[in-house]
Amino acid sequence: MIAQIIFVVLFAAAVAWFSFNVRRITRYINLGRDIKRNDQPWKRWKTMFRVALGQSKMVTRPVAGILHIFVYAGFIIINIEVLEIIVDGVAGTHRVFAPLGAFYDFLIGSFEILAFLVFAACAVFLIRRNVLRLKRFHLKEMTAWPRSDANIILITEILLMTAFLTMNASDFLLQQRHVGHYLTAGSFPVSSVVASLMSNLSSESLVSIERFCWWFHILGILAFLNYVPYSKHFHIFLSFPNTWYSNLENKGRLNNMENVTREVKLMLDPSASPTAGNDAPQRFGAKDVFDLTWKQLMDAYSCTECGRCTSVCPANLTGKLLSPRKIMMDTRDRLEEAGRLIDKNGKEFRDGKSLLDRITKEEIWACTSCNACTEACPVNIDPLSIIIDLRRYLVMEESGAPAELGNMFTKIENNGAPWQFAQADRFNWTTNT
């Protein structure tokens, strides 16, 4: 009975803390500007099913892709087992779903195989990061915390799977020995192998191990659940909405700035109504996270720092400072900073800092807008749109374009071409043979 009460209290606390953080992150994302992203719902569902659920962009790199599918499938499917564990924890039962019989055996057997695959995949991931030291996991922006974050996640998953399999192994032995309430249920393709190492142990020890692993596993899951909102691992939740709200336009298209359209129309036609859209004047482009859209902010929280974007970025691959992953990490870190200050000091609070304190001009101007990053991202994050919005701010609010680009603007203004050529010479290509 005491165990049940402890379980219910801890479980409720974990859920409450998690939902507190989900609300906090939702609030921060909503600090962004509005953008309409709910047209063509059918296409959006299709995109989400294909990209997030179907992992279509993960498998373009088969090794990481397939290992990730193991972990992902394990995570989703083993949750059915967590449901049983929760019911057992609340009701004080043991293997409450056991009456499902053969189907139960099938479920437990599948969970075991998945658990083993998760274990193995995480081990390979750890090796890739720490032994093989794949380049994209050790670039400049991968400072101490992002690297630890990744390792904490992988080690936690390995520990959870170990606890789950050890729990099953001791349960399996106790079932064979017909000890107490350990009724015969489930099939144990993996843990029966583990059990052979534990067969010398007394039944009392096995009960202790089984109970310890049961508690370690479920408390570990609850703790991990609450770690995720502080970690890059939040992608496990946001990749679904983030792909649903994907940009469905051709990637080559940059969005139209309506506040500029209004001004340009006024310039071209003074009789146009200056109050046509009388929203509060809006900054041109983005200096800080508040100038980005909520989708761009959701992108930032959906990023799990895999670095596929950066590993295909032509600027980064030729030694420039720009890294699309860093753009996303900086956006998220700045939003966390600004959001927490707002929580403390009120909605209008600004600390005088901005996203541009984290992202330098050298990074922003190195982008070729080639869309390799957006194509590579497994959850359809768009770092390019942030880079362009930062450029817009620099150019239109601060006249901060590099001198050569300033010259290019002048040439377009003066002679309708980005080079110094006379408009009258435009047709010379026919005669210039």
Binding site: T318, L321, C367, D425
Partner: protein
């Protein structure tokens, strides 16, 4: 040119409308190397009996480099005045050999009142070949090794990967793919207004990285479909002193030569 390229104004004066507007673009109007591509496209259109017209001196920058460099004001000024000209002539269909113009005209003029059907020249050439309006002899390129460099704004930007390849397949040449091709194509380094400035500090130029990849296949020809890629890849080939062995050519030039135009 052994035929007259007509302007929209001339068509309008006769009260006629051409089948398609050939949008040249700044690079293809002024850059001497790119002008050759422009002439090749014009010859192909003419030889296929396509009734096309150009804007001539009425054309102006689409605003693409301004928009990508963050100057939305300048972009929209350009866009609105171009739309006025295009809509004034009742233009509905546009062909261009510049993927940057293609992208801007197709995707970024819509909200400002410009709705046009856009065709990249490789798509139009493919159609003309498929319809039999244009015929090529493969002989010129028999046994040649060609690799195609995907322009970002044609490929990833607008999902056109097959048209230029299917055009190259009409030649008796062997098409070799670089490891980074199609969706994974690697930029030439020109886009996003980069071509108008010095690159940021790094350890290599983007075009050199890309050319190195292409040269790894020991091709006879690096085929492109964009005037900016043409400039960047040509410079890249020069940086390896390979200009006597490897040619950089637009798909239109390949076809024009194969068709003896």
């Amino acid at each position: 040119m052994d035929f007259k390229v007509e302007t929209m104004a001339e068509y309008a004066a006769r009260g006629e409308t051409p089948e398609v507007l050939f949008w040249i673009g700044c690079a293809a109007s002024f850059d001497e190397r790119a002008q050759k591509v422009t002439r090749a496209v014009a010859k192909i259109l003419h030889a296929s009996g396509v009734r096309f017209a150009v804007l001539g001196t009425e054309e102006s920058c689409t605003g693409d480099p301004a928009k990508r460099a963050g100057n939305e004001f300048l972009f929209q000024m350009q866009a609105m005045s171009n739309i006025q000209v295009l809509n004034g002539y009742g233009v509905t269909k546009v062909v261009t050999a510049c993927p940057h113009c293609y992208n801007t005209l197709k995707n970024e003029y819509r909200e400002l009142g410009g709705n046009y059907e856009l065709v990249h020249h490789s798509e139009l050439i493919q159609q003309l070949l498929d319809q039999g309006r244009l015929k090529v002899e493969g002989g010129h390129f028999a046994g040649k090794k060609i690799t195609f460099h995907d322009p970002c704004y044609l490929g990833r930007g607008n999902n056109i990967y097959e048209a230029p390849r299917s055009v190259i397949h009409k030649l008796d040449a062997a098409l070799f793919e670089m490891k980074r091709s199609r969706e994974k194509g690697f930029c030439c380094g020109a886009g996003g207004a980069q071509i108008f400035k010095e690159p940021e500090k790094g350890n290599k130029d983007v075009n050199v990285e890309r050319t190195e990849e292409a040269l790894g296949l020991s091709p006879d020809i690096i085929a492109v479909g964009c005037p900016f890629c043409m400039i960047m890849m040509t410079d890249g080939v020069k940086s390896f002193n390979k200009e006597s062995q490897v040619q950089v050519m637009d798909v239109a030039e390949l076809i024009a030569r194969a068709a003896d135009l």
